[in-house]
């Protein structure tokens, strides 16, 4: 094992770099790597959903024998064999943001927020906004991804516990803005009484914002998202658009994951089973200049 930071190498594998969400995680990870002065490969498959692509990336990274791997698995089960392969090569694996399922793969720790709880919290927030009664609609992510499932479960748990809240539609828009827009337009047709639309990411939520604005119903319908991507923040700041989003502090996830990997390898400390990164609900009022400055985002 390397004693010094100079020859410590780390592979940080995310789902999809094209998504600002993982981009931000990379920013945090790079910050940590710079602080530690270590070498880091930040890589991903070409598109989200391309499981084989991510497996190929992991295989390739393993060939380079890094000292540790941070993995954001695209699918909780399908990446287990690669975790096992890393285990057999003696390369420690840390997961971030998304877990791999329990099984034969050994993961040193999981760094991330609690998706289910975050979305339960968002659902509570929405219920409070609509006064405990009304119709809500959900734009789901990619069916079959564990993240989508956790988020949906968290929301449904809360909504089901309020007898006066009805989930009138739940449509998969595959994390995509245009599909989110179309689905929201259709929801508004079939359920003009809807009080809130919950996007399980900001891209879909921004699509819903467009649909709501197009229908001239911005005042009546709450739209919320997740991830706090720059365009979502811009929309909140401009007002009349997005009503809230979840800030998962993904940069902190990236940062913590790199730190944990470094500590584990160089100091040999046992890590906690779950390094929890808190999430928060951002409302327009929270998008202050200070917040943006801290995030390093410029909006005009």
């Amino acid at each position: 094992m390397p004693a010094t930071a100079q020859d410590f190498s780390l592979s940080f594998i995310v789902k999809d770099m094209t998504n600002p969400y993982y981009w931000r995680m990379g920013e945090g990870a790079k910050r940590a790597a710079e602080e530690l002065g270590i070498e880091m490969n930040f890589v991903s498959a070409a598109t989200n959903g391309d499981i084989e692509g991510q497996i190929a990336v992991v295989e390739t990274e393993l060939v380079k024998s890094p000292d540790a791997i941070v993995l954001v698995p695209m699918n909780g089960t399908a990446l287990i064999p690669k975790v096992m392969e890393a285990n057999s090569l003696g390369i420690p694996v840390i997961t971030a943001d998304t877990r791999v399922d329990d099984g034969p793969g050994k993961v040193e720790t999981f760094v991330g927020l609690d998706e289910e709880e975050s979305f339960a919290g968002m659902a509570e927030w929405v219920v409070a906004q609509i006064g405990g009664a009304g119709e809500v609609a959900i734009l789901e992510g990619f069916r079959g991804s564990s993240t989508a499932e956790l988020r949906l479960n968290g929301m449904m748990r809360v909504f089901n516990s309020y007898p006066d809240v009805e989930v009138v539609a739940s449509i998969a828009a595959d994390w995509d803005q245009e599909k989110g827009l179309k689905a929201a337009e259709d929801i508004l047709q079939a359920h003009p009484e809807v009080d809130a639309i919950l996007g399980t990411n900001d891209l879909m939520a921004m699509g819903a914002v467009q649909a709501v604005q197009g229908a001239g119903m911005s005042d009546q319908i709450i739209v919320v998202g997740d991830d706090a991507i720059p365009s979502a923040l811009a929309s909140m700041r401009a007002g009349g658009g997005l009503n809230a989003t979840i800030d998962g502090n993904t940069d902190q996830v990236g940062y913590e994951a790199v730190m944990a990997a470094y500590r584990f390898v160089t100091e040999g400390v046992e890590l906690d089973e779950w390094i929890v990164v808190p999430s928060s609900i951002l409302e327009p009022a929270d998008v202050t200049d200070e917040y943006l400055a801290a995030r390093g985002i410029e909006l005009d």
């Binding site: 069916r143 009138v168 803005q177 245009e178 689905a183 079939a190 467009q210 604005q213 365009s231 929309s235």
Partner: protein, 314 residues
């Protein structure tokens, strides 16, 4: 030929009947389908695929294929977004976006004709290249576009119809004229029928094909303008896989891959059928698991219905 015979064998007739059957079924199934609000929705939703399908049908009539339209759309969109972000005048930005798409189409055509490489490969390559460039330009970030120009395109109406549908009407009007009333269109049908013969008869096959792919690129950029209007944003990941929808619209319309045949207007109806299926299933609130199954079934059924016309003709 009698009038009836003429109508019966006109390529549009049957596919329009199929569309009407579908519309009728959806109207029966949901009270929301045939509301003016939803028709407006449908018109907006169909617009992007319809514009792409117009270009795609020209390409397919030459016997080619253009897989890159979704990526070219995205690249054009982010070009617009990036320039507006950099405080360029929105009209100039739009112009540059259109130029970008046109350039991509031109490059497709250039490589296909000069390199004698299969259109499938070249446009598949462009699919990766344009998408990658869109991501490189933006660093993966989606710009928000709050210019009134685009907000108008996305959300306003004119004479009671949403603006995007006017883009569609103009596109199909022009392409229809080009394909059926101009020498260029005549050449396209000849090339699609038998490229070797067209060449022997002195048609500048390469030049005409180059034009067709360029037009397809331009139309992808035009669709990007509508897309930017609709999303008020330019996510670089937009319109993934939309090429298959555009191609399906063309084929559902009855234009065949073998080339040389078909009416571009049928692609519009094909696009409408596709849009109705998704819209209808969303409205009916059908689980997205079953949606995919049903979309598949309805596409096949629509084409099968359309095929009955040839059975009737025999």
């Amino acid at each position: 030929m009698t009038m009836f015979e003429k109508i019966r064998t006109y390529p549009l007739t049957w596919i329009v009947v199929v569309a009407l059957v579908l519309a009728f079924a959806l109207t029966m199934a949901s009270p929301y389908f045939l509301t003016s609000g939803n028709i407006n929705n449908l018109l907006k939703q169909v617009s992007i695929v319809a514009i792409l399908a117009a270009g795609q049908s020209m390409v397919i009539i030459t016997g080619g294929i253009d897989l890159s339209v979704g990526s070219v759309l995205a690249l054009s969109a982010v070009t617009i977004g990036w320039l507006i972000q950099a405080d360029v005048h929105p009209l100039i930005a739009t112009f540059c976006g259109l130029a970008m798409g046109t350039l991509c189409g031109f490059i497709n055509g250039f490589i296909i004709t000069r390199g004698r490489i299969a259109p499938f490969i070249v446009t598949l390559g462009m699919l990766g290249i344009a998408r990658g460039m869109a991501l490189v330009i933006t660093g993966g970030v989606s710009y928000q576009i709050l210019e009134p120009l685009f907000l108008t395109i996305g959300n306003s109406k004119f004479l009671g119809l949403p603006i995007p549908i006017y883009f569609v009407i103009v596109t199909y009007f022009v392409i229809h004229i080009v394909m059926h009333y101009r020498v260029f269109g005549q050449h396209i049908y000849a090339i699609g029928g038998e490229e070797r013969v067209a060449r022997l008869q002195g048609i500048k096959v390469d030049r005409e094909k180059l034009k067709v792919y360029t037009i397809s690129g331009f139309l992808a950029a035009l669709a990007a303008v509508v897309m930017v209007g609709r999303l008020a944003a330019t996510p670089p990941s937009v319109a993934q896989g939309i090429e298959l929808q555009a191609i399906a619209a063309v084929i559902i319309g009855g234009i065949s891959f073998t080339g040389g045949r078909g009416l571009v207007l049928t692609a519009l109806v094909g696009a409408l059928i596709m849009a109705m299926i998704t819209n209808g299933l969303n409205i009916l609130g059908i689980s997205s698991f079953w949606q995919q199954v049903l979309i598949g079934v309805v596409i096949i059924a629509a084409v099968w219905l359309d095929n009955l016309k040839s059975a009737a003709r025999q």
